[in-house]
Symmetry: C2
Subunit: 330 residues, 2 copies
């Protein structure tokens, strides 16, 4: 029970290594827990290849989401005790990491693991829902009159945003490249799906919204893809750019943006969970909806611990519909 | 007293024509005034070449700033009467235009012309100060602990932003390409001037601000110039892009922006003066400071009416330090 995943230089999944490491002494406020399952995120791939906002100190652990059972707590920890079931909340991960058989996380970045969720589900909660929460509600002030554009919607981040949008009474317009995942996105709760290889995105948005346009765009693609929806923004639109899936440069069309009084918000939930008040607000919003069943994470595929590198490679193929999880226990 | 400037197709200053035109019947809320002086803005050049947010209906008048004396008022006008001295506030200019011997403007886009200002000064007030006002205060929530970066600061827009920043107790860091205008910018009130051909902008900003960085950037250049200051943004910085002087594409460096929790705000005052409450707030803020003398527009050069095309060509050379004005009366 001491194997962890780490890396010593930037690169792809092949740089990840299994290492035996005993947990060190807990600092004040830290919690050690045995990991039952951990989730993969695109942020992990960016962290691994050196393109994430935060940078590792080598050798570095990796990962920000895991669910498990508390083994020990550092001084001053009041919310958790050994035996408690917990789920971790992503935060700047340069000094921590959850992918392995154990993890240490500061108390405030842990939440209870609701009994209704499996370990695979419990480790799939916080990145997707908090990322969507702060964008849509804290910054975007989503109202039920709004339409939200959710490109590349089949990822866990996309699913989380669809669920939160629809749960709040607003309408999610999900996009996917090919017909393959269109049905899945409707089942996942999106009011509308646009298949971008077959349809003109801006035209479809204007049709769906009766000319109103989308007020929030939750875009992990960026790059030249932004041009596909610029003409279908509502007035005072906010474009959240929270990923780099497109790979090419994202240009600002200043004139088009000003015509809609729209802004570009390069975005990460890390800039919100670092503030105590916002962290608690986000936790409360999501946790209450997990408890009453109005939110439930979708898990796509579960890998064994030994298959962790395969899980990363699978994420790189973009085939997933929901969360990719690794289970550390049989 | 019926000559106006108009254009019938997109292009450069050579497309501008002097035409005799009698004012038509005033609509409700409109005010006709004899123009004593009008100002030129970069927005006029963009409107002329078809790159402005608003587009003309040909044949189209041009210009948004003028000062003069009221001749007649339409029904329902209560704030002005014939004989009053007025100054016009820019708004979407596709149906109006102030460059000529007379102009018609809706009542709410007129303000009194303070006795302490000459005609040249009175027509140079509203574009520069309101553009800076809404960016710095309404959106940017400027506090006296902030540093504001003001690139290409020798334009009237730059001077207006310097004055408003310093008047509010914050610090303006003005930039200029060459040494030529450095002294002028200090005289105009900037706490600091950086000559971008001679100095590394980001390094100088970090030095000036003691590592804090600039929280607001008021940038008419955009394009690749944005790279010059990205590393010197304060946390939660806002980059206002309000012009297109750079000419090349403006790329969003998503990772660099997220590291600073910074946003990009393509910006025009037109998106603020179109809302009645904001219009009044802006007018009050600026007008009270004109009256008490804490703001006073800087006029660079005054052209005769017949030289209007020369005034446009002068603006295109970027030599000006302050406002370019045309006087229609001897």
């Amino acid at each position: 029970m001491n194997k962890i995943v780490q890396f010593k230089e930037f690169g792809g999944p092949e740089k990840l290594q299994f290492t035996s490491l005993e947990p060190g002494k807990l600092e004040a406020g830290e919690v050690l827990f045995k990991v039952d399952a951990f989730a993969l995120n695109r942020a992990d791939i960016l962290f691994l290849n050196g393109h994430h906002y935060s940078l590792p100190n080598f050798p570095s652990r990796i990962g920000s989401e895991a669910a498990g059972v508390v083994e020990a707590v550092g001084s001053g920890v009041t919310n958790f005790k050994p035996g408690d079931k917990v789920s971790s909340i992503p935060f700047h991960n340069d000094a921590y990491g959850t992918q392995g058989e154990w993890a240490i996380v500061p108390e405030q970045y842990l939440c209870s693991w609701p009994d209704s969720l499996s370990a695979e589900e419990a480790c799939s909660v916080w990145m997707q829902y908090l990322t969507a929460y702060y964008a849509l509600f804290e910054v975007g002030k989503l109202t039920e009159n709004d339409y939200v554009l959710i490109p590349a919607a089949s990822s866990s981040a996309g699913i989380g945003a669809i669920q939160l949008t629809e749960e709040a009474g607003a309408k999610a317009i999900a996009t996917t490249r090919t017909q393959d995942k269109a049905e899945f996105l409707l089942t996942a709760g999106a009011s509308f799906v646009v298949v971008t290889e077959d349809e003109n995105l801006a035209e479809r948005i204007l049709e769906i919204t009766g000319g109103q346009g989308v007020r929030l765009v939750y875009d992990p693609i960026a790059g030249s893809f932004t041009k596909a929806y610029l003409d279908a923004l509502a007035r005072h639109a906010i474009i959240f750019l929270y990923g780099l899936l497109g790979g090419d440069a994202t240009e600002v069309d200043i004139v088009a943006m000003v015509r809609k009084a729209a802004v570009i918000h390069p975005y990460s939930m890390f800039n919100h969970v670092c503030e105590a008040e916002q962290l608690e607000k986000g936790k409360d919003y999501i946790f209450s909806r997990l408890l009453n069943g109005s939110l439930r994470p979708l898990v796509d595929r579960v890998f064994d611990f030994e298959q962790t590198l395969d899980a990363y490679r699978y994420m790189e193929t973009n085939q997933q519909k929901g969360k990719i999880v690794v289970k550390t226990t049989a």
